[in-house]
């Protein structure tokens, strides 16, 4: 076991291998306040990568309704239950144990293996709210009864449990972008990664008899394009970019800005200890204890920040850049009411007005001899 730095926890922790951060780290930020649960992302991934034999029930990207939804069934309840009650005080490092630290001496992690039946019903729990809606119910913030959609891909973790658990060292993390891949020629399908990944984002293919997982759409990423599940997001709730650790954060990097600069986006289940690289702007209407369990004690501050966005044109600008370009934005800027995204060389790839303007056309267009009308 090695001591590694996990900034999500604010402390060092134990991991099987030495700390070895990639040159840059693939990352997605999701604004959960805007996800409509349409599953367009799930279909984008499915039709691109997993339409083959043995992949029928596989959704590398899935969206589940929280708290009742889960794919595979009960994955997060089971992991949290195995890990047990843990302590994390506000503004302090995580005191509890990670899945590596709580493992039995002969094991790498605290884990469970989902059964074949656990992968059926991918949309189990869809739209179920927490409790009974009775007559006279009205809205408060946070809502009395609530649910939200949680879109999930592999988190291409800094300390992947899948990689740590693989006895054949078939899983590797690419130094150039931090994407975690399973070498299909080395994998023998022992399923240790399926068992150990607490997010259940490594999946077993009974036809090829190997394990498979989200590949971060690396062929697109290598060419400067965002993944399919990001490009196709109807709600424009996602942005893929490269995240730096806090000590190297850059204010003009879209992901760094949302995570480090503003503290708006948080990792999910950071207490598990993997330093996962998908980040969520938490839903402001959901129960705070539940959100703390999922996103850690920083969730209160993130929601406070979120409520300030209405007076913050720079953050507004970045949020309208989400879903406005297929390309990977390495930096952004907001000037005179317009938000700009730039590629790696600093060339502009997209510009969007922060506030959409209304236009009025003349009633009669004499050039085309056309009457323009709002009630056609």
């Amino acid at each position: 076991m090695a001591k590694v730095k996990n900034w999500h926890l604010g402390r060092d922790m134990e991991y099987v291998y030495e700390e070895n951060r990639p040159k840059r780290q693939w990352s997605i930020v999701f604004d959960l306040n805007k996800c409509i649960g349409c599953q367009t992302c799930s279909m984008a991934c499915k039709t691109t990568w997993t339409s083959g034999k043995g992949q029928e029930s596989m959704f590398w990207n899935n969206v589940e309704t929280k708290p009742w939804g889960s794919y595979p069934l009960g994955w997060d309840v089971k992991v949290l239950e195995k890990l047990g009650h843990q302590e994390w005080k506000k503004h302090e490092p995580y005191r509890g144990k990670t899945i590596f630290e709580a493992a039995e001496p002969t094991e790498t992690t605290v884990h469970f293996f989902p059964t074949d039946e656990d992968w059926m019903y991918p949309n189990n729990g869809e739209d179920d709210c927490t409790g009974n809606v009775s007559h006279g119910t009205h809205l408060n913030l946070p809502h009395d009864q609530w649910f939200f959609y949680l879109p999930r891909t592999c988190a291409h973790c800094t300390y992947p449990a899948c990689l740590a658990a693989c006895p054949r060292k078939a899983i590797y993390k690419r130094p150039e972008d931090g994407i975690v891949l399973i070498d299909q020629s080395r994998c023998k399908g022992y399923g240790e990664c399926v068992r150990s990944c607490p997010y259940k984002k490594s999946m077993y293919n009974p036809y090829t008899r190997t394990s498979e997982k989200c590949i971060g759409c690396y062929p697109a990423v290598e060419q400067g394009y965002q993944p399919m599940c990001v490009q196709n997001c109807i709600g424009k709730i996602r942005v893929m970019g490269f995240i730096n650790p806090p000590w190297k954060a850059r204010k003009d990097n879209p992901v760094d800005y949302l995570v480090h600069q503003m503290g708006l986006a948080l990792p999910y289940y950071p207490q598990l200890g993997l330093e996962p690289n998908i980040y969520y702007i938490p839903p402001i209407h959901a129960n705070r204890e539940y959100l703390t369990q999922m996103f850690g004690p920083k969730v209160d501050d993130a929601i406070k920040q979120y409520k300030k966005i209405k007076d913050d044109p720079r953050t507004q600008g970045l949020l309208v850049l989400l879903g406005s370009t297929d390309r990977i934005m390495h930096s952004f800027d907001v000037k005179h009411g317009v938000a700009y995204g730039y590629d790696e060389k600093g060339d502009e790839i997209v510009s969007v007005p922060v506030i959409e303007h209304s236009y009025e056309r003349p009633r009669y267009d004499s050039k085309y001899e056309a009457v323009r009308n709002n009630t056609p």
Partner: protein, 443 residues
């Protein structure tokens, strides 16, 4: 070409370089094909002439025609729009404003409203409206989907509300039969209404059943491929572990957990849903009819805490049963509800959401006298106009009885698996209870 007055963009789908996978035809090719054949049969060459450009580059002739005759598209060139679309650039619909505010011209008094007087009208002088008591704005109970007396005009007595009573049509006031209750004009105050009952409550009907369109689909798009349909609700399973499943997904009814428990229905159980037996699932049915099982709705019950008590819901967009799909289920080895003859695939084992619903023919939706905006353009229309003045009623609602048909679990399991394992509302296992309260982390 795709555009609508509610969408700011007009887009031409760029031509694909790929050959068609199946022998499918575009709408215009179908029309041209029929027209060509008719031309031959009738010896009328103009019918051929009309569609002579309908394939290949020639379609632009027709597209350009549409553009030239559309107020808000005039000025565009269809070939340019296609070229732009190839690059992923849509064009704007040039309505008066962007975004479009409906009725802007009328609200600003630049143009008249599409009424007889040209102003907004809140009184209807047409005799049909007076006879129905709808000459003034009133609220009516639904014709079927209410636990109270159906179709009652809920109002205090008012001298201007003088509908024809049931006796004026030779009906008894107490006649609440299925055809007569849709035209019955009876006025009651709110408190008086609350003391009444839907006649079906005597037959153990308990729930308003509504069947709105699914939130993520237009028409059947959500069930057109297996991969989209497994996401339609909580029962999708691509491997069909439970071989009773008609497809990789199946129809379900959302019901409040407390209501379901009172009816002895568990989460995931199969239930029958019966509406008014006078005419549903069809008029004059006998339980011994062969067709009865095809028409009678059976589907999964799903505990749904978000629906109030007394209300149940099934989304509208799944394919219903046919004689062939029910037969397929019985004779196919895989048990799929797929017609052996046509391969039509149903998402229900028996019946469909439409087994319980019907159209209601309200007189004030079928007048010959009401004026309204024409379907296209700024002209005034009168009487029937599809989607504008015609029966819409509440074809998606009913008042139903729900009875357990089969248990949700399979292979000797009583309960549906997610409920049995404690991951469903009212069945929570201890871990789930802690999880819901967010207690796995404490400060």
């Amino acid at each position: 070409m795709c555009g609508s007055c509610t969408n700011p963009f007009v887009q031409i789908y760029p031509r694909t370089p790929l050959d068609r996978i199946f022998d499918t035809k575009g709408d215009i090719e179908v029309i041209a094909g029929v027209s060509n054949k008719l031309a031959d049969l009738l010896g009328e060459s103009r019918m051929k002439e009309m569609w002579k450009d309908a394939s290949g580059e020639g379609v632009h002739v027709y597209l350009q025609n549409i553009i030239d005759h559309s107020a808000n598209l005039k000025g565009y060139h269809s070939k340019e729009l296609e070229k732009k679309a190839q690059e992923g650039i849509p064009a704007l619909v040039n309505s008066r404003t962007y975004p479009r505010y409906s009725s802007l011209e009328q609200a600003r008094s630049e143009e008249k409203w599409h009424t007889k007087s040209g102003r907004l009208e809140f009184y209807r002088p047409e005799v049909e409206f007076i006879d129905s008591g709808e000459n003034m704005l009133v609220y009516r109970e639904p014709v079927d989907s209410t636990p109270y007396e159906p179709n009652v005009i809920v109002a205090k007595n008012h001298e201007a509300i003088r509908p024809k009573k049931p006796s004026d049509y030779g009906l008894r006031e107490s006649d609440l039969s299925v055809e007569n209750r849709q035209v019955r004009n009876v006025i009651k105050t709110g408190p008086a209404l609350l003391n009444t009952q839907h006649p079906l409550r005597l037959k153990l009907h308990t729930h308003v059943y509504h069947t709105p369109k699914y939130r993520h689909g237009a028409h059947s798009t959500t069930v057109d491929t297996d991969y989209t349909s497994v996401w339609f609700g909580p029962f999708g399973d691509v491997y069909r572990h439970d071989k009773r499943m008609p497809s990789v997904v199946e129809g379900y009814m959302d019901i409040n957990p407390l209501d379901a428990k009172a009816l002895g229905v568990e989460d995931g159980d199969y239930v029958y849903v019966d509406a008014d037996p006078e005419d549903r699932p069809y008029r004059g049915f006998k339980p011994t009819d062969d067709f009865y099982e095809v028409a009678r709705l059976m589907l999964r019950a799903r505990y749904y805490p978000g629906t109030p008590r007394g209300i149940a819901r099934t989304w509208h967009n799944m394919y219903g049963s046919t004689i062939g799909s029910v037969q397929g289920q019985k004779i196919r080895e895989d048990g799929l509800a797929r017609s052996p003859e046509t391969n039509y695939q149903s998402m229900y084992r028996y019946g469909s959401h439409q087994s319980a619903t019907r159209a209601w023919l309200r007189p004030t939706l079928m007048t010959e006298t009401l004026v309204h905006k024409g379907m296209f353009g700024q002209g005034i229309g009168k009487g029937f106009e599809a989607d504008i003045h015609c029966p819409v009623g509440a074809p998606r609602e009913a008042f139903v009885r729900i009875t357990k048909a089969e248990q949700g679990g399979f292979e000797n399991q009583k309960l549906w698996r997610p409920a049995a394992l404690g991951f469903r509302p009212t069945y929570e296992n201890p871990g789930m209870k802690t999880y819901l309260k967010g207690r796995f982390i404490h400060g």
